[in-house]
């Protein structure tokens, strides 16, 4: 029994990996595009999880980094013919820079004030996207972003592009996984649990939070780069508050502080949004029921619910995060 409990998360991760790797050549092209999209959102949700789940900072401005990454690609590829690596580097650096500036302001506050400041900072990016027309093309957006160029293989088809995004997803996952398992990551969890105790122990709390904030921002920009390539289009809608809220919901739905959970949450929401809305125009109602159900019956998200279930079955303690 105990082995089952210990093995279940690993088995689930293995199944997910096999499905993501082997299934796509056999699904319809529409499904393939949904999977690609879900992977991008999963990267976003995982990077936000570093703040929300591991550090205990609820940010409502994560779409800003998505937009910084996406606009970098949009502008560089359509106006300067930049290749993939340049666009990627600029996108991630710009998002990290944005987070480094925003972090200075936002991390002066905690709790609901942190939420409000990140919201306001996120809106400044939205404002720029809308009003700095000479650079962003305003609300018309930037269209005609080509598929990535300058890679050793051709990714213009939907399937190769999917595998490119999958690779990016794995890279993002491994980096974030390493971060949260490192002493640095453990310190973030310590700060989440008790800031004053960590301070007493001699940790530089602010600096840890700041570095975490910048890494999360860079992760958002990383996802944004692929989002722009995926859509072939960038618009202020990417930086809207609704987008930030949606990323937050993905993290909450999947289970914060687990990395794996937010990725799962992203898949669930992307598929729900796009598949359910084919069958009914009342799909928002269904999404609402899912959210409320999560808050009431599974406040720790899908992963948390599964963990509780396993615990009850095996009466054995599990580590807070399942292995990939």
């Amino acid at each position: 029994m105990e082995t089952f409990v210990r093995r279940a998360p690993r088995a689930a991760a293995l199944v997910a990996a096999v499905v993501l790797l082997a299934l796509p050549p056999f699904v319809s092209s529409f499904m393939l595009s949904l999977l690609t999209q879900a992977l991008v959102w999963a990267m976003l949700a995982m990077s936000l999880d570093l703040l929300l789940g591991f550090t205990g900072l609820a940010s409502l401005g994560h779409a800003a980094y998505l937009a910084l990454g996406a606009y970098s690609v949009g502008i560089l590829t359509t106006r300067h013919g930049a290749n993939f690596w340049t666009a990627l580097a600029v996108g991630v650096l710009l998002a990290a820079l944005g987070a480094a500036i925003f972090g200075l302001v936002a991390l002066r506050a905690t709790g609901v004030y942190f939420l409000m400041i990140t919201l306001a900072l996120g809106m400044t990016v939205w404002g720029l996207a809308n009003r700095w027309v000479s650079v962003t093309s305003g609300d018309n957006g930037i269209s005609g972003v080509p598929r990535p160029r300058g890679l050793p293989f051709d990714v213009s088809g939907a399937l190769p592009f999917y595998y490119l995004v999958l690779t990016a997803f794995v890279v993002a996952f491994v980096i974030l996984w390493t971060v949260v398992r490192s002493p640095f990551g453990k310190t973030l969890v310590g700060i989440r649990e008790s800031e004053s105790r960590m301070r007493t122990l001699g940790y530089h709390v602010w600096l840890h939070k700041y570095v975490g904030f910048v890494i999360a921002g860079a992760g958002g920009g990383f996802a944004g780069v692929f989002w722009a390539y995926y859509n072939g289009f960038v618009s202020p809608a990417d930086s809207e508050l609704a987008t930030s809220v949606e990323i937050l919901l993905m993290v909450a739905l999947g289970g914060r502080g687990t990395l794996f959970g937010p990725a799962l949450g992203a898949f669930v929401i992307v598929l729900l949004k796009n598949v359910v809305s084919i069958y009914t125009h009342r799909w928002l109602l269904i999404l609402g029921v899912v959210y409320i159900g999560t808050i009431v019956y599974a406040p720790e998200g899908i992963i948390g619910m599964a963990r509780d279930w396993l615990k009850a079955r095996g009466r054995a303690q599990l580590r807070p995060a399942p292995s990939p």
């Binding site: 595009s33 809308n130 305003g138 018309n140 269209s143 618009s235 990417d238 809305s277 125009h281």
Partner: protein
Amino acid sequence: MARKLSITALVLLVAVALALPAGAQKGPIKIGFLAPMTGGAAQIGKDMTNGLQMWLEENGHQIAGRKVEVIVEDTQGQPNIALTKLQKLVESDKVHVLAGGLFAHVGYALAPKVDQLGVPMLYPVMAADDLTQRKPSKWVVRNGWTSSQPNHPFGEYVAKTLGYKRVVSIAIDYSFGWEQVGGFQKTFEEHGGQIVQKLWAPLGTTDFAPYLSQIKRDADAVFALMVAQSALRFPKQYQDAGLKAKLPLLGGGTTFDEFVLPSLGDEAVGGISALIYSAALDTPQNKRFVTEYRNKYKKVPSYYSEVCYTTGRWINEAAKAVGGEVENRDRFLAALRKVEVPDAPRGPVKLDAHGNPIQNVYIRKVEKKDGELWNTVIHTYPAVSQFYKYKPEEFLKQPVYDRNFPACKHC
């Protein structure tokens, strides 16, 4: 190998198709329709789908002798969602033709994807000028209008016929607003008028007090471009600010759209605007259309309803021209570009060389009849193209209208 197989399969299919009696081998003609069905613009989406639905019902859900299947997808008014749904319609549902869409940025987002997928798409509503001017798309057929199209004649009308010399513009601050104001300003100033102040309010503004207090009181009139919820609030606040009695209110077509008129009262009466349609248009085709539409949906059709109704007919005309062979996409696209509708409810419509309709522009005045507000047509400019009286090559040399073009020389 895969290619060889598919070629063999294709040859076999064609052989089978030829062997079968005509008509029997074809499934329905599938139309993919994109519209916002949820979110702030859901009511507009409803008007759009109603329009297309009505044409199909009147014609027994048949186009060129084939059954028609319409698949409506919800864009939520968001470009990213619209892109996903577009792909779904083409790749999963295998539609033969696409139509619909709302908002300029959705139009810009969809156009390259439509070209990439190579399926014809009609834009009955999305009006961004450059879609048929400086950034045309091969597979996009615009059977609607450009934002500046009605305002080119309107600017001239205001300067020459109404005789106003100094006008203040207040408009929603996005490309649709810029292009509407730009079109108006160009012809108004060429005929001796002066735009003396330009005010911009963000999309979704409902409280106009800060803008109304800035309006220069020594102007002759105010040109307002409102959309959706802003259009609902603006006329009342304009009256409450005591401006209605002093400065006559002019507007872009959406400011006094049939879509908002039922929610407005006397404050809107007297408003003059220009658009490619008015529900009060006094032609037999339009009277029949309005009566039928009201019977069916219990409200007056808006321009959104009309253009989508005509879209049904547009597809039908093109499908007939290719003998129902909508599977031949290139021929079908060519046919869609050649369609001429001489008697649409909004009047005669045909495309210019750049793929935008040449159609009537109506100058309309809000009047009250039997307790209802109507846009009475006070003047008709027949067969107006997106370039109005200008040579297309000359016109295209100027940049697309935006916040700062044309510059406000008299501010």
